[in-house]
């Protein structure tokens, strides 16, 4: 329960922190931290306009998309404290409930019949497909290491025993940060700020959405980022009590948001055809984690 509340709270200011970081690094005054929230509030007050070529799927998809993310947030624990839902194999549930949401957003993009949105949908599907093995290799390795298959139990029993496990933490953090950026279509995979429909990935899929629907889709981004931030924070909590976990959680979330802001300030995005290659390297990093786990378990003796 506590993790759900923290993630929701964090999601309210996450993009605000990213935008603030970007405006500071570029020497601009920039909007306040709550500006994205105000924009969302404005969208939620509006009605939606639907194109005549779209069907009910297009109207359904934004709700399904947001709901899928909320469902995924339910299973995120906070160190030793369970999420609202916790069961054996919940990390598989986590990955595929997000997948279901993405599936609907792809369907709705195809539903509009626009040539751009089809392109965006195909890119999004391709990139998440490549990111999936990395996530499962990572969580699978941890499951192997700890002998558990639910988030809470895995994170609870992860401990910093040997020097190898420190390396594993660093690698795992890297993989999770990158997966978070890919799944949220952030830099360097996609540029959320671009106005160029031909280079967009996620943005182009929601070109036809407006008002309340658009609000739901846009809120999905900070929610997902905060959710992955929560997942990363869990790597560092072990069985600490609440007094420690909450500051760790908040600190890591803010550090994550600032990192996203800095990446988006100081580098250019990748060329589209380099993306697939780049995402696949995450899987090889995950393979390293698997190797490390096997080392710790003494499989090579």
């Amino acid at each position: 329960m506590i993790s759900f509340i923290l993630i929701i709270l964090m999601s309210l200011i996450f993009t605000g922190i990213v935008i603030r970081t970007k405006s500071i690094t570029s020497g601009r005054k920039g909007p306040g931290i709550f500006q994205p929230l105000k924009d969302l509030a404005r969208l939620f007050k509006k009605g939606s306009v639907y194109s005549q070529t779209t069907s009910f799927i297009f109207q359904l998809a934004p709700s399904v998309y947001l709901a899928s993310i909320l469902m995924a947030v339910l299973v995120i624990p906070l160190g030793q404290y369970k999420g609202i839902l916790s069961f054996e194999g919940d990390f598989v549930f986590f990955a595929y409930v997000l997948g279901a949401g993405k599936f609907f957003s792809i369907l709705s993009a195809m539903d509009t019949g626009s040539s751009f949105e089809g392109m965006g949908a195909s890119r999004e599907a391709l990139f998440s497909m490549f990111a999936e093995p990395a996530f499962f290799l990572l969580m699978g390795s941890f499951a192997l290491l700890t002998g558990y298959t639910s988030f809470q139990q895995i994170f609870h029993s992860l401990h910093f025993g040997s020097s190898v496990s420190y390396v594993l933490m660093v690698l795992a953090t890297y993989v999770l940060v990158m997966i978070a950026l890919i799944e949220n279509s952030r830099m360097p995979i996609d540029d959320p700020k671009t106005h160029l429909e031909l280079t967009m990935v996620h943005e182009v899929m929601v070109l036809d959405n407006s008002g309340f629907d658009l609000g739901m889709i846009l809120y999905g981004t900070p929610l997902k980022l905060a959710m992955y931030g929560g997942l990363i924070a869990n790597l560092f909590m072990g069985d600490f009590p609440l007094v420690l976990t909450i500051p760790i959680f908040l600190g890591l979330q803010i550090a994550f948001a600032v990192t996203v802001g800095i990446i988006e300030s100081f580098m250019a995005r990748f060329r589209m055809n380099h993306n697939a290659q780049y995402i696949l390297t995450l899987s090889s990093v995950s393979l390293l984690i698997l190797l490390g786990v096997l080392l710790i378990l003494g499989q090579f003796n």
Binding site: S26, E197, L198, M267, F270, M272, N273
Partner: protein, 498 residues
């Protein structure tokens, strides 16, 4: 001699242009003049005279620093085309076809150019543009525009793609057509014409108004003083700095490099603010007037500009170093949107888009105007023809412009008193005026009647040739690289559509 050789903005009597029959006109231009080293077509247009269509072809020769003008008069009939033999005439002939209904028998791509108000066939509509089509199961079409997501002007881009790869791009323009050329004839006050010239393309105000001013002064046999020439050169180079800096910023935006986008953007503002200080308009509107200047380039302005340039250069060098050593940005710039030297020569690109492919075309060096003779301008060349070459070229040209301005301020002549007598153009005359704007060669041609009134005014913006260069450069690139390729060319829609 069946052609006449003129210098840049030299007025000649209209009767001085030799009239040829169409076959020898074609042979002269296609097989002789354009094949010479350093020759390129700066303008080829038609106008109605005595019931016939008078065709005038101006081929500039960079080696001999002259422009070879020849002409022919034809009735409306089917003719063999120049383009069959040399593609540089392609767009000019399409324009003649569209305006006068001359049906070329062997033109490879006889399509409408811009749907002008006074087109020959008023029944042709912009909505029915005959796009190139491919019937295929694998290929798909993506249409972009005419209304775009950004702040750019309207224009339609039709891509034929194989997945993410562009197989063919067709660019259809004409949405910005305002009838500038016919307005030049209708509006007979000089001020109105100056204002028109300034508004041909909002980003080349100095370039176009300078081309008009040269032309008008030449037609009126007016001698321009040294101070005015230098001040105009400074304005032209300042415009180049401003737009090149803005383009570098926009290119950073397109590859999502925020730091570059912010810093180059910040650097551009004080440059255009200097124009504000100089003439009360950030785009330099009102600065260039034939025969005079309402805003003299004073000592105070010169000192202010020197100080500003020092400041600018410092920051500019810093951020350029950052940009050109950033691997992620270089990965986007290099080998993207390549226009080979062969392609550039075949379609006759001009200006920046030619120099980035190793084609040395620069009016400042080949047909110098204003103070360029004194400057001994050497064009900067790049050879790869990709986005990186265009970015580097901009950077180098900015450095070069800064040096030119510094040098000019050092040797700045004393201001002269302008002759306040109204200018009166010579009757029955022809003049062609070339100016190297920041984008490339701007060409204005004027023809006067027996009373010294304009009977034809022809404008050619560098974008006219260069759009085809963009279409060729993006072939086999990824469609997601199109925006950065497009921005790196930064061509004008309204300059093309007139």
């Amino acid at each position: 001699m069946n052609f006449i050789s003129v210098r840049n903005h030299q007025t000649i009597p209209l009767s001085g242009i030799p009239m040829l029959d169409y076959d020898s006109f074609l042979e002269l231009n296609v097989f002789n003049l354009i094949r010479e080293k350093g020759a390129h077509c700066v303008n080829y247009f038609g106008f109605r005279l005595d019931g016939l269509i008078r065709l005038v072809c101006c081929i500039a020769n960079d080696e001999s620093h002259s422009i070879q003008v020849s002409s022919s008069a034809v009735p409306r009939m089917a003719l063999p085309s120049f383009s069959k033999h040399n593609l540089v005439f392609e767009k000019f002939e399409r324009e003649i076809h569209e305006n006068f209904g001359i049906a070329y028998t062997d033109h490879p791509w006889l399509k409408p150019v811009r749907f002008p108000f006074n087109r020959f066939d008023p029944g042709s509509r912009i909505a029915d543009y005959p796009f190139f089509k491919v019937d295929s199961e694998e290929l798909h079409e993506v249409g972009v525009g005419p209304i775009h997501a950004g702040i750019i002007e309207p224009g339609h881009f039709r891509f034929i793609c194989n997945g993410e790869q562009i197989v063919h791009l067709e660019i259809q323009l004409g949405y910005q057509h305002r009838g500038v050329e016919s307005l030049f004839l209708e509006k007979n006050k000089l001020l109105q014409r100056c204002t028109l010239a300034e508004n041909i393309a909002g980003d080349s105000v100095v370039g176009h108004s300078l081309a008009f001013a040269h032309l008008w002064e030449s037609l009126c046999k007016h001698q321009t003083g040294d101070h005015l020439k230098m001040a105009r050169t400074i304005a032209l180079e300042l415009e180049r700095i401003a737009i090149h800096t803005g383009d570098l910023s926009a290119m950073c935006t397109d590859v999502a490099y925020q730091l570059g986008s912010a810093v180059f953007g910040r650097l551009r503002t004080p440059v255009i603010n200097f124009f504000q200080k100089w003439c009360g308009n950030r785009l330099a509107k009102g600065l260039i007037r034939p025969g005079k200047s309402h805003f003299p380039f004073t000592r105070d302005l010169a000192i202010g500009l020197m100080d500003f340039l020092d400041e600018y250069e410092n920051d500019f060098e810093d951020i350029s170093k950052e940009l050109f050593s950033l691997p992620s940005a270089l990965a986007r710039f290099e080998k993207t949107g390549v226009l080979t030297t062969g392609q550039a020569l075949a379609i006759g690109t001009v200006g920046l888009s030619a120099r980035m492919s190793g084609v040395s075309r620069d009016i400042r060096a080949s047909h110098p105007h204003d103070a360029y003779e004194a400057l001994d301008h050497q064009p900067v060349l790049k050879t790869h023809g990709d986005v990186y070459a265009r970015a580097r070229l901009r950077k180098k040209e900015i450095n070069q412009s800064i040096n030119h301005i510094r040098h000019l301020i050092k040797i700045l002549a004393a201001p002269e008193v302008y002759d306040q007598n109204p200018l009166k153009p010579a009757p029955d005359s022809f003049c062609v005026s070339l100016v190297e704007g920041w984008r490339g060669e701007i060409c204005h041609c004027a023809i006067t009647d027996g009373k010294g009134e304009l009977i034809h005014y022809k404008i050619k913006d560098p974008s006219f040739h260069n759009w085809l260069g963009l279409a060729l450069a993006v072939r086999n690139n990824e469609i997601s690289d199109f925006p950065i390729a497009n921005k790196s060319f930064d061509l004008s829609y309204c300059g093309h559509d007139l």
